[in-house]
Amino acid sequence: MRGTDYVLKRVGFAIVTVFVAVTINFVLFRLAPGSAVSNLSRVPHATQQLRHALEVQFGLDKSKWQQYLIYLKQLAHGNLGVSYENEQPVSTNLRIALINTLPMVTLGTVFSIIFGIFTGVIAAWRRGTKTEGATVSTALAFYSMPTQWLGLMLIILFAGILPTGGMTNEFLLNPPFWTHVKDLASHIFLPALTLGLVLYGEYTLIVRSAMLETLGEDYVLTARAKGLKPRTIVRTHALRNAMLPITTLIALSLGYIVAGAILVEIVFSWPGIGRAVYEAVLERDYPMLQGAFLVLTISVVFFNLVADLLYFKLDPRISE
C-alpha cells in the first residue's frame, strides 16, 4: 500500500538525520583541534578508576574510525559519558532536565499555536480592515522581539506579582499537593508566556497566509454558491484545508521553539535542558554539551516526523 511506503520513507529519513547529527557531534568533539577537543575521560577531579573506565568504554586510545564505531555503540546503550560538572552520567542529568523542560515548552507552544490560529483566522477574515492591520502589526512586533529580552521585560512587569526564577519555591518543604501545584503553576506561567508570545507571531502570519490562499480556492466559491453561510464555510471548508500547510509550517518552526526554549530557561533559571546547555557552555562541560545537543536534535527530528505523519493523515491526496 502506498501509505506504508510514505511512512517508511519518512521514518527512514528521520533515522538518517539522527545519524548525521550523531556524526556531526562526533566530528566536532573528537576531531576538532585545540584545547576544545573533548576527551571523555578528562572529567575534572575524577578518580583514576573513573578515568580508566571511561577510556575503556569509549576506546579513546584507538583509531578515530574505531572510536566512531564505539561511540555509536555507546550511544545505543544510552551512555553519553560523564558530566565534568557534577560527575554524574550525562544521560541522568539530561533526563531530569528534559522532564523539567517539557511541561513549560508544551504549555508555551500550545498557547502560541492556538492563539496564532485564532489571530491568523481573524486577520485573514477581516482582510483590508483595521482589525487585520492591528492583528498583523502586533504579531510582527512580538515576532521581532528577542526572546531573552521579552523575558526580561515580563520580569520587570510582573516583579513582585509572580516568581521570576526557578521551577519551585525551594523554601517550601514537603508542601501538600495543591500548594505544590499552585507553586509550580506560578513559576511556569512567565516562562511559558514568554515562549508563547515570541512564537505566536510567526503562526499568525502563517495561518493568515494559509487562510487567504484557501479562501481564494475555487471550492470556497462553490461552497458559497451552494448557499452556505460564511462562518460555516470557514469552519468546514477553509480551516480544514488550511490546516495542511499550517501543520507543515509549524513543524518547520520546531528549531525556533528550541532556540526560544533555551533563552527562556536562562532568563527564568528554569532547570531544564536549555539551561543545561547554558551551564555546559559556561563550564565548558563538553560531555554535557554533546549530550544536550544530541537530545535536542533527536527531539526535533521526532516531532518533525510526527508532523509529517500527521500531514499524511490529513491529506488524502498524498496516498496516491
Binding site: F13, V16, T17, V20, A21, N25, L28, G34, A36, W125, R126, R127, G128, T129, L140, A141, Y143, S144, M145, P146, T147, Q148, W149, L150, L152, M153, I155, I156, A159, L212, E213, L215, G216, E217, D218, V220, L221, R224, P230, I233, L254, G255, V258, A259, I262, L263, V267, V277, A280, V281, R284, Y286, L289, A292, F293, L296, T297, V300, V301, N304
Partner: protein
C-alpha cells in the same frame, strides 16, 4: 479560473521583476516603513565613530546612573554612556548580520543554482544534504560549534552563516528549476553556450530578485541568532553588540538595580531591525510571487451602487 481574478490584477504584463521590486519599495507602506528604519539604523551605525557623544571605553559617571540631560539613556554598570554604547552596538550587530547573511547567501545561492541547474544526481544529493540540515536545529548546533571554536567576531559570522544557507538553497533551487525550462535558456544551450555563461547571463538575473528578498529576510534571522549566541556568552568579548548589551544587563543585574535604561533600549533596537527586515523582505517576496488570487470569501461582501441609467447614452 474565473475571469474575476484576471480583472483584479493590474494590467502589467511584461514588466521586469526588478522594476516591480523597486516599485514595491516605494509604494507598499510596510516596505517604506521598513526601509526607513533600516536606512536610519545603518546610517547611525556607519557614522557611530563620529556621532557617538562619548567614548565607550571611558567611564563618565557612576554605575547605572539614571537618564539625565547629558545622558538621555543613562549609564551602564560600568559608568559608560548608553547612547554611545547603543550606537557602537548597532555597528557590530549589523556587521554580523550582514556578513553572516553574505556567507549564507553565497553558499545557499550557489548550492541552489547548481542543484537546480544541473538536476539529476547532483540535485538529489545536494537537496538530501540540505534536508538533513533543515531538520537539525540551528541554534543548538551554532552553540556547540561556537563553544568549541572559541568566541571571536569572525567565528561567529562563519558559524551563523554556515547554518543559514539551507532556506536560501531551497528557494533558489525552485526558482532555477522554473527558469531552466524557459525557451531562451534552451536556445542558448542549442547554440552551444557553456554552462557558466548561461548561468551568469540567463539564469542569475532571473533569480537575483528572489535572492535579494530572501537575503533581507535572512538578515533578520542572523541578527536574532547573534543575540542568542551573545546571551550564552559566546560572542566576541572585545566587541559590543546589541545582543551583548542585553546579556550584560542580564548578567550584571540591571533589573535588580532598577536600571531599565540598560535593558529596554538594546532590545527595542534589535526588535526594530528584525521588524524592518521582515517588513521589507516580506513585501519584496510578495511582489515577486503575485499570488494575486481573489478571496472568494471575506467578512465584507460586494458593494451595491445606485442604478446607472436605463441604457448607455450615445456619446
Amino acid at each position: 479560473m474565473s475571469e474575476a481574478s484576471f480583472f483584479v490584477e493590474s494590467p502589467e504584463v511584461g514588466t521586469s521583476r526588478t522594476r516591480a521590486l523597486l516599485r514595491t519599495l516605494r509604494h507598499r507602506r510596510s516596505a517604506v516603513i521598513g526601509t526607513t528604519i533600516l536606512v536610519a539604523v545603518i546610517l547611525t551605525a556607519v557614522l557611530a565613530p563620529w556621532i557617538a557623544p562619548y567614548d565607550i571605553h571611558t567611564q563618565v559617571g557612576a554605575p547605572f546612573e539614571p537618564p539625565s540631560w547629558n545622558h538621555p539613556l543613562g549609564l551602564d554598570d560600568g559608568g559608560i554612556d548608553m547612547v554611545s554604547l547603543l550606537m557602537w552596538g548597532m555597528r557590530i550587530s549589523l556587521v554580523v548580520g550582514f556578513a553572516a547573511t553574505f556567507v549564507s547567501m553565497v553558499i545557499g545561492g550557489s548550492i541552489g543554482l547548481v542543484s537546480g541547474y544541473f538536476g539529476g544526481k547532483t540535485d538529489t544529493i545536494l537537496m538530501r544534504i540540505t534536508d538533513y540540515f533543515l531538520v537539525i536545529p540551528d541554534v543548538p548546533l551554532m552553540i556547540v560549534v561556537a563553544a568549541i571554536w572559541g568566541p571571536s567576531l569572525f567565528h561567529i559570522i562563519i558559524v551563523i552563516g554556515i547554518l543559514l544557507w539551507t532556506g536560501t538553497a531551497r528557494v533558489i533551487r525552485a526558482q532555477v528549476l522554473s527558469v531552466r525550462e524557459r525557451v531562451y535558456v534552451k536556445r542558448a544551450r542549442a547554440l552551444g553556450a557553456g554552462h557558466f555563461r548561461i548561468v551568469m547571463r540567463h539564469v542569475l538575473p532571473q533569480v537575483a530578485p528572489l535572492l535579494i528578498a530572501n537575503t533581507v529576510l535572512t538578515i533578520a534571522v542572523a541578527v536574532f541568532d547573534e543575540t542568542a549566541l551573545s546571551f550564552l556568552g559566546l560572542s566576541d568579548p572585545s566587541r559590543i553588540s546589541l545582543g551583548k548589551l542585553i546579556e550584560n544587563a542580564f548578567e550584571r543585574a540591571a533589573i535588580s538595580a532598577g536600571a531599565w535604561w540598560a535593558i529596554v533600549p538594546p532590545g527595542v533596537l534589535v526588535a526594530l531591525i528584525i521588524l524592518a527586515c521582515s517588513l521589507v523582505g516580506g513585501a519584496l517576496e510578495d511582489a515577486l510571487n503575485p499570488r494575486l488570487r481573489v478571496a472568494h470569501l471575506s467578512a465584507r461582501t460586494f458593494r451595491l451602487r445606485p442604478l446607472v441609467g436605463r441604457s448607455k447614452e450615445a456619446l
